[in-house]
Amino acid sequence: MKVAIVVQRYGPSVNGGAELHARYIARRLARYGEVEVLTTCATDYVTWRNELAPGVEQVDGLTVRRFRVKHERDPRVFGRRQQRVFEQRHSIGDELDWLDAEGPTSPALVDHIAKYAGEYRFCLFFSYRYYHAFYGARAAAERAILIPTAERDATIGLSIFQPFFRSVRALMYNSPEERAMIHAVSGNASVPGVVVGVGSDVPTNSQPGRFRQKYNVRGPFGVYVGRIDQNKGCNELFEFFENYLKEPHGKLSLVLIGNSLLPIPKHPRIRHLGFLSDADKFDAMAAADLLFMPSYYESLSMVALEAWALGRPVLANGKCDVLKGQCIRSNAGLYYENSSEFVETLKAIEQNRWLSGTLGRNGRQFFREHYDWPVIERKYLDMFDRLQKETPRGTVDALPGWFERRRQELPAAEEVLSKLPTGPIIQRQSDSRRRA
């Protein structure tokens, strides 16, 4: 069995959730068959500049084929087109122009897929929103398995993606919320799909004491791991944590791990350690009392899963449906929607050792049941088996013609997004309910 992993960027130095996800899956599936990675020469997701050499190379023992990106992203053009399709009535042509401006525009990669698709049993496309996935999956529709990594943002409301979600052979979702959102927007419930997510290589022998000694961290603390960015909700985290610091009985400190794009508040109980190695990161999470997850938009929080794997509770942003749903389903984390809730939930975790311990234990159990590698691998292999037994459906619809593309009749993507159902998915055994 030969499988292609198609992803926008690939390499050990590439950071990013979907890219890391693709790397993990490629390495794991390589145990069961031949895996080839098809990607671009870009390493920067903002410009898509060709920084790596095109051609074939070996990474982690896997064959990686790199293709050149035709043009870099022009932020001004992209911003203008995005504003148009997100906020105004527009046409399919506008959406295709937006996709072209977003990139990574690599016709060479798409041509390769179209030409050699027959050599692969399945092609796994990561991140629905990018050029390579949209055109690549159309070129190999009979073999296309999509890992959408969709977040609740306006992109999901674009019309070009609705037939796209219906045309692939299968979808591997990251969370039940993501699945529900894609079902609602595209009506693709008949397309085979399963909630899988991704595992993590969490060490079994993490050493919290070593971390405390190395970085001179004393006392109880909560940790945030990830890019320190406004888009990740870090501004709000700082604001809320400063409110918590005003509480006379609170003793927790905040330790930040990751590159910062924001000014860090000056306070003796807020420490920024910068980017750390994986070993130090896991040691820090093991030493922490809890993990903060303030992001508004997540399709799956790998850091939260890692914290749970280490038996640590999570305090998540309740406005993110996925995180809230994960906390409720696992019974392993609390969530907040405003400053008061943040302070109170933090105090609850800090002051009730029993609660903290039970949440951590539940998290470990949740990770073991749903996100351990054997579980993830089995879900992929089961899907491959199922698809091999089924005959592929009809061909994918052709893109509309010149006149059709120019009809200004599509609603703004934000308008479409606002009509989608919200809230976490909570399933109790066979009974599932959607809460608005």
């Binding site: 105004q88 906390c327 389903r329 019974n331 008061s340 939930t345 949440l359 579980v375 909570i426 109790r428």
Partner: protein, 331 residues
């Protein structure tokens, strides 16, 4: 493969969150979420500002209505020294330059015209640049103003809600305070004046009414019940015999001339008038414990020390009011 489901462990995150939210509500009173506040803000705006066509979602509307600004390309020309004689044909250009001195000599001098047009072209360019800069800065300021107005509206609404909430809390606290004060007064009087069961068995018609009301009672009785003289003997209590009044006065005088007063008791008894004032005089007080007990018994029986004092004032012939009876009587 197991699907996601709720694990029935001893911790239920939803329940914990409910408890936490209930605690927050208890602390804060009414708990509005950001969405609710925004909704309220929108309602207010619609109510008050719609007549003038201003939307509640000012910022969004503004952004939608205002496309991204690109400075317009204004028509302009460039005018250099040889523009007037320029041609795409080299021969013509050559002859024009050749005959330039003849033009100046026989017809007119074109140099001032060239100079003026050159300056005008440069002025046009400068003006266009300045206009573009102004326009872009104006638009940037507009964005800020709209954002400011939007934030002000939200903050104002939030403040309004908080003020309303605080007003309600203040009202609630005021009523509680008043109730507590009344309760405290009632309890104080009950503790101080409660007769011990051994000394004075309670009379059947005794009612535990608060002392301040009892203080006022004799005055109201005396002034408001002239139509019922038969119920009360003049200057005394109802049901008193002719010799009783003088006997009572003698008994009281005898007692006041007795041992030293007890200021503590007196000041407490001051609620009921002269006893406290007697204590304040610093003289030997006549208010012994026994006297106090009597006093309270009188009160509970429907009489009052004040009524007693009134009677005493009448006897002493001193009309200056209750304060004056600390004089000869007390001494």
């Amino acid at each position: 493969m197991p699907e996601f489901n709720i694990r029935s462990d001893s911790v239920n995150v939803e329940q914990i969150m409910e408890q936490i939210r209930a605690r927050i509500r208890e602390k804060r009173g009414v708990d509005y979420t950001e969405e609710q506040i925004r909704e309220l803000a929108a309602v207010k705006l619609e109510k008050f500002l719609d007549p003038r066509g201003i939307r509640s979602d000012l910022l969004d509307q503004f952004r939608k209505a205002m496309p991204a600004y690109e400075p317009p390309v204004l028509p302009n020309y460039s005018f250099e020294a040889d523009t007037l004689f320029d041609s795409h044909r080299g021969v013509i250009r050559f002859f024009r330059k050749l005959f330039h001195p003849f033009l100046k000599l026989f017809l007119f001098n074109p140099n001032p015209l060239i100079q003026a047009l050159n300056i005008q072209a440069r002025l046009n360019t400068m003006y266009a640049e300045r206009e573009a800069t102004r326009e872009s800065s104006r638009r940037a300021m507009d964005q800020l103003y709209y954002e400011l107005i939007h934030n002000l509206v939200v903050e104002l609404t939030r403040t309004g809600i908080e003020v309303k909430n605080l007003k309600m809390r203040v009202e609630s606290l005021a009523s509680r305070l008043e109730f507590n004060e009344r309760r405290a007064r009632a309890l104080e009087s009950a503790v101080v004046y409660r007769p011990s069961g051994d000394d004075h068995p309670p009379r059947p018609q005794q009612t535990p009414t608060p002392p301040p009301i009892q203080i006022q009672q004799p005055y109201t009785i005396q002034t408001a019940t002239p139509t019922a003289p038969t119920a009360q003997a003049p200057g005394g209590y109802a049901g008193e015999g002719p010799g009783q009044r003088s006997r009572r006065r003698r008994r009281r005088r005898g007692r006041r001339g007795g041992g030293p007063g007890q200021p503590g008791q007196m000041s407490q008894g001051g609620q009921v008038g002269q006893v406290g004032q007697a204590g304040q005089s610093g003289q030997a007080g006549a208010a012994t414990p026994q006297r106090q007990i009597e006093h309270s018994v009188d009160e509970r029986a429907g009489g009052s020390s004040d009524s007693d004092d009134l009677a005493r004032l009448e006897d002493d012939g001193d009309p200056s009011g209750p304060g004056s009876d600390s004089g000869p009587d007390a001494q």
